[in-house]
């Protein structure tokens, strides 16, 4: 067997989004000298970290046939709380960080519990929660507050032998998410639930527990994303998370996860996050007028969802 025979099936099995990413990078590298610098690549990776965490968390929820619209505002809340905490309790960095992660998990737990208890559609519940959290943020502050701490700054901006610290964290998180979702029993059950919640329940799976866990994980990841964002911004900006929930959903869907759930590919989701980051970077570098950039992004979202037509969307018999 020659090499081509080995390589071709490998490439043909790559999810389309990975192709899109590779093509974008190749195109950028060919046509834009500023794009192909190592520094720029590292920039893009660093810029994508927040969304990466968020999308990974969202992947758990969507894989289970649920959705979490509250993550964007949760990121905002964590950013604000973290920076307020760092400022109010100097020297207590670690407890504040842990507290923020706990906050994320607790909000996730509230989402999960309410969905289980009230038996209402997740889209609506988390949509309501989005508004509630936004209200909470503005009750805490209506302007930038507090500041971040060096450790958090380092996670957001630092480089370890030239590699962004955030990238290393993202890779670790991706590996964990891959194991949890695509290898472990938990992920298997979650996917089963995504395919058919009632069948999963009848098979004896604890669907309420699964949903709860998925939301807790999503909240936890949002907590991490919020901390990274606190590092990036250096301050708690109340509107920091606006719209991130939609970005994270777009990334997960671009990563080939049907919104109905039941299938997931963590690596493809990561590729989707990078794709979005790269496109934004490349358009900026190629001096595309800003309004045209917006248009292009919209078209990409539409094209992507059209191309990524999931199998389940095939015509019923």
């Amino acid at each position: 067997m020659n090499r081509a025979q080995l390589v071709i099936p490998f490439f043909s099995r790559l999810p389309p989004i990975v192709w899109a990413l590779l093509l974008t990078v190749a195109f950028g590298a060919l046509y834009n000298p500023q794009f192909r610098t190592v520094d720029n690549a590292m920039n893009v990776l660093e810029q994508s970290a927040t969304l990466a965490f968020l999308a990974l968390g969202q992947a758990f929820v969507i894989a289970g046939g649920l959705i979490d619209l509250s993550v964007g505002q949760l990121v905002g809340l964590v950013t604000v709380v973290a920076c307020m905490g760092f400022e109010a309790f100097p020297g207590w960095g670690l407890p504040v960080i842990l507290g923020c992660l706990l906050l994320g998990a607790v909000v996730g737990a509230i989402n999960g519990t309410l969905i289980n208890r009230l038996r209402m559609p997740p889209l609506i519940l988390t949509f309501g929660m989005l508004s509630v959290l936004q209200g909470c943020i503005f009750m805490l502050t209506d302007r930038s507050v507090g500041s971040s701490i060096p450790a958090i700054d380092f996670i957001a901006h630092g480089r370890i032998t030239g590699i962004p610290a955030s990238l290393i964290l993202v890779v670790i998180a991706t590996v964990i998410a891959f194991y949890c979702l695509q290898r472990s029993t938990f992920g298997w059950h979650l996917l089963a639930m995504g395919n058919s919640a009632s069948a999963a329940r009848k098979a004896g799976l604890n669907v309420r527990g699964l949903a709860l866990n998925a939301y807790v994980i999503s909240g936890l990841f949002a907590g991490i994303a919020g901390l990274v964002l606190a590092g990036r911004l250096g301050t708690g900006f109340p509107n920091a998370g606006v719209g991130l929930e939609l970005d994270s959903i777009v990334a997960v869907v671009l990563g080939g996860t049907p919104l109905k759930g039941g299938r997931v590919n963590v690596v493809a989701i990561l590729a989707a996050v990078l794709f979005l980051g790269t496109i934004s970077n490349l358009l900026n570098l190629m001096q595309v007028p800003t309004f045209t950039q917006i248009l292009i992004k919209g078209i990409i979202v539409i094209l992507a969802i059209l191309l990524e037509r999931p199998r389940w969307a095939a015509a019923p018999q």
Binding site: I124, F127, G128, S131, G135, V253, V301, I302, R309, P316
Partner: protein
């Protein structure tokens, strides 16, 4: 049991309760509001409230169809913005352009809806993401077209007419909203299209077997949504004149909240325009109440969230106890 026995409608059944729920909430809220401020019981004020709600309400009428169909239309905020901008642009400050402007605006709104509908029906993709993408596209187009400043001038008489009060009580714009609702109810309950929307929304597979043209229905429903969003944009223009290039920003969420409040949920085949009307009013009364009570902006956001959750939970609960066997 005789045919007439079957055909007889029971006076009160749980599932009627589902339909009535939002109206009951509306009534309770109104009474509660009346205690807080007498104004809420005055016709004048209520007219004002309906007028305030007109842009969002008219848009919500269209979105209701899409949601009955198991879809969602997040592009309406952008369409409203576009319509307001385009309408003022075509008016160009001249009275003779008025009808042309309204025509062009409705056409562009429907056109975006058509694009949504075609892509969703033929692409069979998630309407959530697709219309989200479309809203970005429309927003980008508007910004490109205007360069960031809204350059239109409304026709003389346009705003004056729509902001007038008939008999000094009922605002014209409020009547327009009510007319939109009536048209919506008529479409939904008296036409083939409306029935098709319910059938396809309730079960697309069954609809196919019953020979219902699902693609056509989907396309028309999104067109209707776009059209009503266009009208919503005109209503917004009438209310507030030319105000920036993105006056409808974020409106899709209020619209969505109102429709959900009315009981048209994402499950498809449920709810309707009448309930949406009530939903819009509940939302606005609640927010006005918060305002009148002097609650800060932040508290209002929280209240909005809680209302959405509570309303939806109530619908879910009534739905379950209403003899619906599906989990």
């Amino acid at each position: 049991m005789s045919a007439s026995a079957l055909a007889k409608r029971p006076l009160l059944s749980r599932h009627l309760l589902d339909k009535a729920a939002v109206w009951i909430v509306l009534l309770i809220l109104l009474i509660a509001a009346g205690f807080v401020s007498e104004a809420f019981l005055k016709l004048n004020y209520l007219g004002n409230l309906v007028r305030q709600a007109a842009p969002i309400g008219i848009t919500a009428v269209g979105v209701t169809f899409v949601m009955i169909l198991r879809g969602v239309d997040l592009s309406v905020g952008a369409i409203v913005s576009m319509s307001a901008v385009v309408c003022a642009l075509v008016m160009d400050g001249k009275a003779e352009n008025l009808w042309l402007a309204i025509g062009v605006t409705c056409a562009t709104g429907s056109l975006i809806g058509l694009a949504n509908g075609l892509l969703i029906a033929y692409g069979r993709v998630s309407s959530f993401i697709l219309t989200l993408g479309m809203s970005i596209v429309v927003y980008g187009l508007v910004q490109m077209g205007t360069g960031g400043t809204a350059r239109g001038i409304v026709s003389p008489g346009f705003r004056e007419f729509l902001n007038d009060r008939i008999g000094n009580v009922v605002p014209t714009l409020a009547i327009c909203f009510v007319i939109a609702v009536v048209v919506g109810i008529f479409l939904q309950s008296q036409t083939r299209f409306g029935r098709n929307v319910y059938l396809v929304g309730a079960n697309p597979h069954s609809a196919r077997l019953a020979g219902i043209p699902a693609v056509q229905t989907t396309v028309i429903a999104y067109c209707v949504s776009g059209l009503f969003a266009g009208l919503g944009g005109i209503a917004l223009l009438a209310r507030t004149g030319v105000s920036g290039t993105n006056p409808g920003a974020g409106m899709e969420f209020d619209v969505l909240a109102a429709v959900i409040l009315g009981g048209t949920t994402f499950a498809g085949g449920r709810g309707g325009v009448g309930s949406t009307f009530a939903g819009v009013l509940v939302l606005f009364i609640a927010l006005n109440l918060a305002n009148v009570a002097g609650l800060p902006f932040a508290a209002q956001l929280t209240i909005k969230g809680i209302i959405i959750i509570a309303a939806s939970a109530a619908h879910a609960w009534i739905g379950r106890s209403g003899g619906d066997r599906t989990e």
